[in-house]
Amino acid sequence: MNRLQRYRELMRTLDPSGDPRTAVQMGWGVERPRSATAERIARRIEIEPWSSHLIVGGIGSGKTTELWRIHHRLRELGGETGDVSHYIDVAAETTLEWLWSGRLVLLAGMRLIGYEERVRKARGGRSPSTEVVRAIDALDEFRAGFETDDQWHGPGTWEDFILDQAPHLQVLQDAIVTEHGHCVVLFDSLDRITDIERLERTLRVDLQVFERARIGVVVVGPMRLSYRSPPTTADLFDQNVLVLSDVDPTADGLDFLVEVLARRAAPEVMPQRSCFDIARASGGVLRDLIALAKSSAQEAYVVGSDVVQPDHVARAAEQFGRVRAVGLDSEQIQVLKKIRETDTLVIRGERELALLETRRVLDYGNGRFVVHPTLAPLLDLITVAA
């Protein structure tokens, strides 16, 4: 393998926009320190498969990866529990902007219809039961309700119509699983919805349907939900809310981050000292960790080095900080400087939330906030045009 091929191989293993399934399948995942998220939720579902759970966390904190790990764990347990897990990337199935009440029910319904057909084929291709045919017809009619621009003219309210789908979902579930099993639906990408009120309205109705149908649900939601006061969304999930904090890159957090890198990059190319530098510069944001490792390797390649050295990491980190610095206004810079001094943040409104959302500020939990390590040293150098 020549130098270019070696680096290209490294680029492939360090792909921050890669499919998280690859990381899970390749065994690149490492248990997070202090909170084995996937394990916790999977165990909870094991004993209460009809329960609903919310995972919130900052962008790039590894929510989708955790969701896939839950999916894998539930599949492993499926032989014993009879439960069947379904992963749905909502953004791949529908436009998030058009997500309103009933859409999650519809997506789950369509998935169960397809799965029931597969199960039937696997069991010898028998015809569906009358009950199942009726459920499929009802859900098709429900889908038609989404495909018209006309206002709802049904006998009850639109919300009633959504709630009426619960028995149909239950029929499909019963046709899929064994006697004691349940279906568990994992909804990804809802963290990209910016209209929190609309998301809450959707969840309020759709979760009721899943509860009535005795179907388990895990939802990935936006970080903003964890800063709402009062935290109304948590009530919808019976307080089953898991906050995926960023990993504080100190002590065991640092070891965890370095281990994540070590699984993907050989020490001959990325020695431990560089891994430690990358881990610290990432601030513990998993996607940033991979992105920084990758761009450090690019820096090394461009200057003809076969090994990623700390000065390559420093260059990559500076570029990372610059990208984060662009677009800040003077008030935001003042807020950031204050956080840099105090490690705290009082969330007063949109300005502070935007800093968290764009990962310029990281939340390590227990009231500890820090400026992203690549941005912090640049704050004194930023001049804002009047």
């Binding site: 020549n2 492939r12 926009s17």
Partner: protein, 190 residues
């Protein structure tokens, strides 16, 4: 504070290095002509034609990304970042080959606020292009030295082999020629 500027060829070499990953690059470029020049530089490194597709909205963006899924592609945002709804369609932009999203330089400052999820995906692969800037002299010399050592040839020997067509050109060779300001030989060999 500005986004880092890279010389066109240096940026092209970074993009080419990432060719077989699903990485997205966001590049501030003034106009279509400069986008074409960047595509040409990338072509010299990956050895196939880079499609340049104008995308005005999310549907066109997704369609173009899918149509050119098996190769590196340059997508030129003609109506601004907001019209692309990047966060909304991000799941549909997963690829096996790199993609370059070219936007007006002034728009780069708004990427994180308009599409924080997509911005996180792009990470620090956000650049401005400087037309005539090359690698700085120190980096250029280091890279040349690495190429000389790796292939066991001086610049003169390498140029002679290329001129007499004795060398099957690889991406490294294209880079070497451009570093020596002899991309004319690259054209001659096509």
């Amino acid at each position: 504070m500005n986004i880092s500027s890279l010389g066109r060829f240096e940026l092209a070499s970074r993009i080419a290095l990432d060719e077989t990953t699903g990485s997205w690059f966001v590049v501030g470029i003034e106009d279509e002509q400069r986008a074409s020049l960047l595509a040409e530089d990338i072509e010299s490194l990956v050895d196939y034609e880079i499609a340049i597709v104008q995308v005005a909205d999310r549907e066109l963006l997704v369609a173009a990304s899918r149509e050119h899924a098996s190769r590196l592609v340059l997508l030129h945002a003609t109506e601004g970042l907001e019209s692309l709804h990047l966060d909304d369609v991000r799941s549909l932009l997963q690829r096996d080959h790199a993609a370059v999203l070219a936007v007006l330089p002034a728009e780069l400052a708004h990427l994180a606020s308009i599409a924080p999820h997509f911005a996180s995906w792009a990470g620090n692969r956000v650049f401005l292009v400087e037309d005539d800037r090359f690698l700085d002299e120190e980096a250029r010399e280091k890279r040349l030295e690495a190429l000389r050592t790796h292939y066991g040839m001086s610049d003169e020997q390498f140029l002679a082999e290329v001129e007499f067509a004795e060398l099957a050109l690889e991406p490294d060779h294209a880079e070497w020629l451009v570093l020596l300001d002899r991309s004319d030989l690259l054209e001659a060999r096509r």
